[in-house]
């Protein structure tokens, strides 16, 4: 049995299903990120793992023990809250050691453990302050300290970085990753930020509408999204999704793409079993580049020229918007690209990286041969 196992979990709140048959199992030391738009049920699921919300149906196992109906304090978990939830009347030291005190750890031992954690998080100089005298980043560290000191089986993080400013968020993200590498404790982490999910996770569960859309390693999620939701949610800028009409020609799936100058280009993709009809193709911006930027090792490419609508320099990259089949499509080119708005440029589409989805069901079409 896996270290953390969620079996067929459902949650019905006031006769409204919030979560439907969630199945997740992760091994000890994994970093699971639950990611999805707000209202997708990810925080509810985390609270259920914590024991702060009842499970309507299903079972939760931590370290081979059924904890479905066990009190939060008996589950050997620690949680970092979005608002940090530091006790306002207590000093930082008291905040960190409160959990130990409740468990009857003697004072000397508490202080010793607190000092250790304070050293890891570099908050030793803050121990006597009240939370109100701390900055956002410092509060964040204290909240993590309170979780760390307990040395639990599982850490739960509920959008811990969402209240920090952009730069601090990136720094703390790195620190959390380093901390996980160092402690190797199992983590369940909730966020709506897909970049946080990609950078931190060893396993990502993409959620929407109370259902897990896809569970997999970050690269699986990114390179093989199972449906249109995952495809559009993960990645920044998001994947270009173009509706096409395809036909099956001698076992190849064939369709045409049209640029805004009226040119049409036929594309044939091998290895799909499909009967023709309406499909959606997904192209990540980095798989649609100009000649300068493209990877010379790519052989299976489509080269075409198109008028350029918008150029958005973003420093390291420049994003170029063109029209394909009447839809705006973003291409990623080098930061120092000379492409001009209103001009025309040549682009390369990497055909090996095209994702094909059924327009009706939104599901990914499996490639039979690759």
């Amino acid at each position: 049995m896996s270290f953390l196992q969620l079996q067929n979990i459902s949650k019905i709140y006031e006769s409204q299903p919030v979560l439907e048959s969630i199945n997740i199992s992760i091994e000890k030391g994994e970093f699971l990120v639950l990611v999805g738009p707000s209202g997708c049920g990810k925080s509810t699921l985390l609270n259920m793992i914590a024991g702060l919300e009842d499970v309507t149906q299903g079972a939760i196992h931590i370290d081979e023990k059924d904890v479905t109906h066990v009190a939060p304090s008996e589950r050997d978990i620690a949680m970092v809250f979005q608002s940090y939830a530091l006790y306002p009347s207590m000093s930082v030291r008291e905040n960190i050691t409160f959990g130990l005190e409740m468990r009857g750890v003697p004072r000397d031992e508490r202080n010793q453990q607190c000092d250790q954690v304070a050293e890891i998080l570099q908050i030793g100089h803050l121990l006597d302050r009240k939370p109100s005298a701390l900055s956002g980043g410092q509060r964040q560290r204290v909240a993590m300290g309170r979780a760390l000191v307990r040395n639990p089986l599982v850490f739960l993080f509920d959008e811990p970085l969402s209240n920090l400013d952009a730069k601090l968020r990136v720094d703390m993200r790195t620190e959390i990753k380093l901390l996980h590498q160092r402690l190797k404790t199992t983590v369940v982490y909730v966020t709506h930020d897909q970049i946080e999910a990609m950078t931190l996770a060893t396993r990502i569960a993409v959620m929407n509408g109370g259902v897990i859309q896809q569970l997999g390693r970050p690269e699986e999620i990114y390179y093989h999204p199972q449906n249109l939701f995952v495809a559009s949610f993960m990645g920044s800028p998001s994947m270009n999704l173009i509706e096409i009409e395809a036909a099956d020609v001698n076992g190849q799936i064939c369709f045409e793409i049209e640029t805004s100058n009226g040119d049409t280009h036929a594309v044939a993709l091998d290895g799909y079993q499909c009967t023709g009809g309406k499909y959606v193709i997904g192209v990540r911006p980095e798989d649609l580049t100009d000649i300068e930027t493209s990877d010379q090792r790519q052989t299976n490419t489509l080269r075409f020229s198109s008028p350029v609508d918008v150029v958005e320099p973003a420093g390291s990259d420049t994003f170029v918007v063109i029209q394909v089949c009447g839809q705006s499509v973003t291409c990623r080119v080098r930061g120092d690209s000379k492409i001009q708005e209103g001009g025309e440029a040549e682009f390369l589409l990497n055909l090996d990286r095209i994702h094909l989805f059924d327009q009706h069901s939104g599901e990914r079409l499996k490639r039979v041969v690759s």
């Binding site: 609270n47 914590a50 702060l52 009190a71 939060p72 304090s73 978990i77 620690a78 949680m79 809250f81 979005q82 608002s83 939830a85 006790y87 306002p88 009347s89 207590m90 409160f98 959990g99 409740m102 468990r103 309170r146």
Partner: protein, 288 residues
């Protein structure tokens, strides 16, 4: 710059003038009571209520405190003052504590029907005192604490819970629930969370509740007159007996001194903690 500030300062002067008029309006009765409580009776009779005393004397105060005739015995207000203290302290503390626990449960441990319970408690704030006199007398009789200080304490606690619950419930409603959850994960139970997390952050609302309860209970006359015997009467009832005695001369100076004595504790409570009162009332309504 001068011109820009002129209308502002004119407004300000008008404002201060109005405030001054109002303060005088409110302070004159107190002034009359105060100056006349230091006069001899003859001097009061001669008129000139607003004049300062010619012969300054503390005798009326001494009389009001320890020798004036209250009802049948010449004890002064002192024993009744002590009665009031013995009644008001437990009544305020118990009703505040119960209100705090009620507010904690009704905001953070909500159960099915919690709105109804809160609604009914709130409703008790609007029940006039007179309505419950007879059922309350009956209840006190059954409990065997009729005509005693504990009986009066019970009455005030029961009546005070509505307001104290309202205060604490609204205050705790704005208290972040994540803190409760964090404490639960830390292994703290119901009362531990209350005592260690909520109460230390409840200073402002505790002050509000104590001032409110103290003022109401100390100033209460109806319950005091209805549910006590001679040996447990609060000072409000004794003051009435002092002032409205039908025998002998009306000693206005003693009456004034007695009235000030009876009002002194609430006055002190307001002066000492009045600024927390306003701050506490604001704390629940304005979210930081």
């Amino acid at each position: 710059m001068m011109r820009a500030s002129l209308p502002g300062s004119a407004m300000r002067s008008a404002l201060y003038l109005i405030l001054l008029v109002f303060s005088i309006f409110y302070l004159v009765p107190l002034y009359v009571m105060l100056v006349n409580s230091f006069k001899e009776l003859d001097e009061i009779r001669s008129g000139a209520m607003l004049a300062l005393p010619d012969n300054f004397t503390l005798a009326p105060w001494e009389s009001a405190w320890s020798t004036a005739q209250i009802g049948v015995s010449p004890t002064g207000l002192k024993p009744y003052f002590i009665n009031s203290i013995a009644m008001v302290i437990p009544a305020v503390l118990i009703s505040t504590l119960i209100g705090a626990i009620n507010g904690y449960v009704l905001s953070k441990w909500q159960f099915r029907g919690h709105r109804w319970v809160f609604g009914l408690l709130l409703f008790s704030c609007f029940i006039p005192f007179q309505i419950v006199l007879i059922p309350m007398a009956k209840t006190l009789g059954i409990l065997g604490i009729a005509g005693s200080t504990p009986g009066l304490v019970l009455v005030h606690v029961v009546y005070g819970i509505g307001f104290s619950t309202l205060f604490f419930r609204n205050y705790y409603e704005a208290f972040p629930t994540e803190l409760i959850r964090a404490a639960q994960l830390d292994g703290a139970g119901f009362f531990m969370i209350f005592a260690r997390i909520l109460l230390p952050s409840s200073g402002p609302i505790i002050v509000v509740c104590i001032i409110w309860q103290f003022t109401n209970i100390w100033n209460d006359f109806l319950f005091g007159a209805s549910f006590t015997d001679f040996d447990s009467q609060p000072i409000t009832v004794a003051l009435n007996n002092l002032v409205s005695s039908s025998t002998g001369v009306k000693e206005y100076n003693v009456h004034f001194a007695g009235a000030i004595l009876a009002a002194l504790p609430t006055l002190i409570v307001y002066i000492v903690s009045g600024r927390y009162f306003v701050r506490g009332l604001m704390a629940g309504s304005v979210k930081g």
